[in-house]
Amino acid sequence: MDLIQKNLLEQIADLHEVPEGAYNIRANGESAGSNTTANIDIVKKEDKDGIDIIIKAGTKNESVHIPVLLSQSGIQEMVYNDFYIGENADVTIVAGCGIHNGGANDSKHDGIHTFYIGKNAKVKYVERHYGSGDGNGERIMNPETVIHLEEGAVLEMETTQIKGIDSTNRITRGDLAAGATLEVREKLMTHGKQYARTDFSVDLNGDGCSANIISRSVAKDESRQEFFSNINGNSVCSGHSECDAIIMDKAVVAASPQLTAANIDASLIHEAAIGKIAGEQLIKLMTLGLTEAEAEEQIINGFLK
């Protein structure tokens, strides 16, 4: 791996070297290393680009890293990764994509991650997207996450895009069986002329299931963001979504939350807020000795922490 790729790897997965446990590193469309364990198998797909990650029932405290790195300008790819997680497993999956584009051509990574999470299994899924490089070519990323949760299964998803992605369409779809839990925390920052669209749709199908979707975003400069969420309560369930955006400069943020209850015992809540940094927050931090710019930075860092 070269220095640029190493830097991308550090940004998206906090990794300095190859990770412990199971992993598959994809760099510029090729495999740059892979490892399986007794409980976690990684199999290359035959019919299309991508891998199957198969985790045995009852696997505990193991992790899988599947970072994707693009450092050649002009690469465009579409990858399908499927995760099969056995019953009662408890694992962490770290995905993410880093694009370095130092050239004139657009670099683009589209990926569909599909999760089949077995009964009472628990998964923590961390996904980070990052871009660097000063070429004129755009860095484009369109991640789609499809989540099927069986009875009592739990998925906690942390998805972060802080820097460098010019255009993104982030789609998340979920369906939940009885007693399943979905927790999503999204952190998003756009700057320059970037565009980010984020779109959640969750079907709460089984009694006692719940979904909690929290999105925090900061839109700077002339960037644009659109937030869509749709929670369908088809059972005795609870659903909560919250989008909270800080808007700066000449940015534009739109939030379109939707709730549909098709069961009298579905309890659904949405909260949405868009606003600039409160003046009193800046003043407070300035009375502690920070400049206005430093105060702004602290507030944003805290908000997206």
């Binding site: 003043i283 931090l285 009375t287 502690l288 000795g289 400049t291 602290q298 507030i299 805290g302 908000f303």
Partner: protein, 240 residues
């Protein structure tokens, strides 16, 4: 130490210009000074003006003889002025530890933060990683606000009605915090308050009403006249 010279502050209202502060002249050299007076009299305006949040229409503010009238909030903070808000500000995502560290101007260990929180009567470990938001009670937020001032430990600390918005129970222990601060802090404490208990521990009391200094002097001289003046006392006197 702090000197206000001919301070005037006017605002535009629908009915024309309104004078909030009228030619205020004040010298503060004492260790613990309380400013009191009726609501709307200009006390908070004066405090914000000293911190640089409001600019006077005319007049001068001197700190240790240096004219700081045209300095901004940050510059004044760095020259040694601290200001505790009447209404503590909420921050999404910033924790007690973050703010205390920013106030102290250095990276703080959990132990450092705990020491400061203990000073204001908070059982520290429960608070270090709490977010500064409405999950904290009014009394807790006030104490954290005061803790930030302690962490800065500057030569001038201004408190704008620390008793506002907190219950009697919290207030009683808050008085102890101020008593301790009076004994420990080396600089000057300037506190805006309506509370007799706070006025009682002041070296000097300044009474501001209708934008003017109505009275100022030693606690012994000012406090009796203030207590006599309150409406409830007068009513009682009338009935007797």
């Amino acid at each position: 130490m702090l000197e206000l010279k001919n301070i005037c502050y006017e605002v535009e209202t629908e009915k024309g210009k309104k004078e909030i502060l009228k030619n205020v002249n004040l010298k503060i050299d004492e260790h613990f000074v309380a400013i009191t007076g009726p609501n709307g009299g200009g006390k908070s305006t004066l405090a914000k003006m000293i911190a640089g949040i409001i600019q006077p229409t005319s007049g001068q503010i001197l700190l240790d003889g240096e004219d700081i009238t045209n300095l901004g909030i940050t510059e004044r903070a760095n020259k040694g002025i601290s200001f505790a808000f009447q209404q503590p500000v909420h921050f999404k995502g910033l924790t007690v530890k973050d703010l205390i560290s920013i106030a102290a101007g250095k990276k703080m260990s959990v132990t450092d933060v705990c020491d400061i929180l203990s000073e204001v009567g908070l059982c520290a470990r429960n608070y270090v990683n709490r977010e500064i938001n409405n999950s904290l009670s009014g009394g807790e937020l006030k104490r954290i606000e005061i803790a930030m001032i302690l962490a800065r430990s500057t030569k001038l600390s201004i408190f704008d009605e620390p008793e506002a918005g907190i219950d009697l129970w919290s207030f009683t222990s808050l008085i102890k915090v101020f008593e301790k601060m009076r004994d420990d802090i080396n600089g000057t404490i300037l506190i805006i308050s309506h509370q007799e208990k706070i006025l009682e521990i002041a070296d000097k009391i300044v009474v501001i009403a209708a934008g003017e200094i109505e009275n100022e002097g030693k606690k012994e001289d000012i406090l009796p006249s203030l207590l006599y003046k309150t409406t409830s006392c007068q009513n009682l006197t009338d009935k007797q």
